[in-house]
Amino acid sequence: MRNPGGWAALTAFSLLFFAFIYAPLFVIIGYSFNSNPVNMMIWESFTFDWAAGPVGSHNGHRESRRLYRAPTRCWRRCAPR
């Protein structure tokens, strides 16, 4: 390359390009540790539960219990008295 400044600009552009490609994937990876069982968009707390499911530990029972219980719990807690 005859022009080192041009090469640096090209490198910066390309790295930004790869950041654009990978930003959503890293967002998904980050949110896969979100413990919110109802809405993946709202961060609740950190959990390995979703990773444990496919590996086969506790056979997914816990997830289904959570899925069932979480809304009920919310209903009890959030409902106006």
């Binding site: 552009f13 390309s14 390009f17 790869f18 654009f20 490609i21 959503p24 998904i28 968009m41």
Partner: protein, 295 residues
């Protein structure tokens, strides 16, 4: 059996599978769609086997207003889909062209790494990647949080459920398909010719226009066609990221087949997509051939 005859029999045997495959899985469905588009929609879904040209009339304007009503919205949505797809092609090209040059100048090992990095996202689910954009673009999402915290904006940007979000999503999804043909063209660029052009007094712009661009044009055309065709009929991206203003013709077809259960009208719409794509393709190919002849 003479050698000539044996050869033609062999040719027939070799060509039979691909002919049957294309005939059965490409041409036949196409014909079914074409026939469906001129049949009467059944009252409760399905079709009645009688000729009915109002499906096209609803779109192009010869509907009588009694049997079917002409709505200019269908042509507007078609036009919007075409402009979104064209914009996607231009933006992916602008993004990928410099990067293709950059990757082609790297060492063998790094080139391999970045080629894998480009193609890797394609292996993850499309829906998952689009939901990631939902997380990033929503008013309380990552982009707005970052921009608000550094003080670049006062109020959250409303990007989600706008045409901007649809085009952004399509660009994101289509980038690898633009990059790969472009990269192969850029990688095969005759660098000696570029050097010669610069040595013999052409400036950078002249060199780019007269040497680099004509040599990479096949890659550009290939990438443009591969990006344009799925973009025109895309319905997943506008479904996830576009609101009412981001509706594309693919969504209309999907709605007609799955929700409205008007198969003939859905077929008529998809015939129009096909006609448009075919026209664009023919123009692109003849232009490219002409340009190739000059170079």
């Amino acid at each position: 059996m003479s050698a000539m005859q044996r050869q033609s029999v062999l040719l027939g045997v070799l060509l039979a599978p691909v002919t049957l495959f294309l005939g059965g899985f490409f041409l036949l469905p196409l014909c079914i769609i074409a026939v469906l588009s001129v049949l009467t929609p059944g009252l409760y879904g399905g079709v009645e086997w009688s000729f009915y040209h109002w499906n096209h009339g609803r779109i192009f304007g010869w509907a009588d207003g009694i049997t079917e009503i002409y709505e200019p919205i269908y042509l507007q949505i078609l036009l919007r889909s075409l402009s979104f797809a064209a914009l996607t092609v231009v933006l992916t090209l602008i993004l990928c062209y410099p990067v293709a040059f950059w990757v082609s100048r790297l060492s063998e090992r790094w080139r391999l790494v970045f080629m894998v990095l480009i193609t890797l996202p394609v292996f993850s689910s499309l829906i998952v990647r689009l939901y990631a954009w939902l997380l990033i673009l929503k008013p309380s999402g990552l982009l707005n949080t970052i921009l608000l915290s550094i003080g670049a904006i006062r109020e959250p940007l409303e990007i989600l459920y706008t045409p901007t979000a649809v085009v952004l999503g399509m660009v994101y999804v289509m980038v690898p398909f633009m990059f790969l043909p472009l990269y192969s063209a850029v990688d095969n660029l005759d660098r000696a010719q570029v050097e010669a052009s610069l040595d013999f007094g052409a400036n950078r712009l002249q060199t780019f226009l007269k040497v680099v661009l004509p040599q990479t044009l096949p890659g550009i055309m290939g990438g443009a066609v591969i990006v344009f065709i799925p973009s025109v009929g895309n319905f997943i991206v506008p479904d996830v990221l576009g609101g009412a203003k981001g509706l594309m013709i693919g969504n209309l077809v999907e709605q007609q087949f799955l929700s409205a259960r008007n198969w003939p009208f859905g077929s008529a719409l998809s015939m129009i997509i096909m006609a448009v794509v075919l026209t664009v393709l023919l123009v692109a190919v003849t232009r490219a051939r002409k340009a190739g002849g000059h170079a």
